[in-house]
Amino acid sequence: MDIRVQEAAFDLGDEARAFAERQRGMGAVVTFTGIVRDLDGGDLDVMEIEHYPGMTEAAIEKIGQEALSRWNLGDILVIHRYGRLRPDDLIMMVATSARHRVDAFQGAEFLMDFLKSRAPFWKKEVTGQDAAWVAARDEDEDALSRW
């Protein structure tokens, strides 16, 4: 399990390639990548991501262990950035490997659902002179109940 909480940018291509290449005996690799987007069609300038140093790594580790215990996974990668991000910047990614595709998909979806609502990150959108904390969505909380 490879967990990285970092301010620095990362390269999806390099990370996905390296993850897939270090898997042995795994027929399936799934990646999810989250990208800063101006979904409301406004003029998003900056997304600030705050986190809880210490707890963040522990919370992700716990989510990852839970995923490993529920599905037949080979490996897990989680990279999550904090700090000031710009539109089109990559926020985070997860990758999973498994012998079969269903485990790889389910593991990645589980990680994403729990990272959304159970890892201590908070997003703030800065648009011109305005700044607003992104509100948690009910559907993200609801998504946890399916697991």
Partner: protein, 81 residues
Amino acid sequence: MDVLYFAWVRERIGRPKDRIETQAATVRDLVEELRAREERYAAAFEDLSALRVAVDQELSDFDASLAGVREVAFFPPMTGG
């Protein structure tokens, strides 16, 4: 005990952290103490349903005991991913 604040809780209180000597038995008792401090604390803790709490860096709830606890953190629902 260290009490940490994140996101708009931190902004509303105006600081990221307090070091507090307290006899509070539970998180809820601690919240009452904080509310009584100053208006900005009362404002931050006005609606507990909008807040989450971590006790020694583990997600917890307002009825959790503070016996032996070194760090409590208050923050809004998380928005990772």
